[in-house]
Amino acid sequence: MTERNRFIMGIEILSKDNVQILEEAKDWKEAIRICIKPLERHGFVEERYKEEIISNIESLGPYIVIGPYIALPHARPEQGVIKSQISITLFKKSIYFGKDEIPAKLFVSLAAKDNESHLDALANITEVLQNEEVVKEILKSKDVDTLYQYFH
């Protein structure tokens, strides 16, 4: 079985191809574009998806920052999702959101085709992220293999 066919809770939704570690990004907008790039490259979202996320954040605030150093970039299915998939990006240097400069390093980017199909995988990932000690370790990941193994 190739990496691209791996399954989480029965849904092929996170492959190692879509996991990446980067040094930094210029600002939060660039960070969002970088995070969505693997999903775009592999045909899971349309080109406009990343810009839709950016415009959602501009109008609603940084609702995607869900915990310390954790962001969950996503938009609605009708905003350019082709197929449900998750990508994971770790920035070594914090990316700051909003006027309060909320920091994030781990970006779990979500493309959801409907209201249901991604929930099992997201539940699984949430379980991982609930453990503060594990999150500390995840943030220290040096390579993609290490980062990927926390989530599958």
């Binding site: 605030g61 609702y63 997201l122 949430t126």
Partner: protein
Amino acid sequence: MKIKKILCFCGSGLGTSFVMEMNVKKALKNLGIDDIEVEHSTIDDVMPGAADLFICGADLLPNALKAGMAIGLNNMVSVEEIQTKLKQIFEQEN
């Protein structure tokens, strides 16, 4: 007022709000409460009467307060924060 329904919401109604729903359910379980319905949705569904209690990220709290009683969370992956805030609300209401 007895709280029967909690609505967790975010901008899109399928990511952040679901993470909150999961953690609210866990917090309720820890508090020994099993008679409250918990759902997740988008900000568009937030209106008076849609739920007895609204839960969202701290940045969206002003929107939620227009619709009714609400809790704003700083850390949405923290069951502990949700549990503490729910407990406060239940003590006020009962």
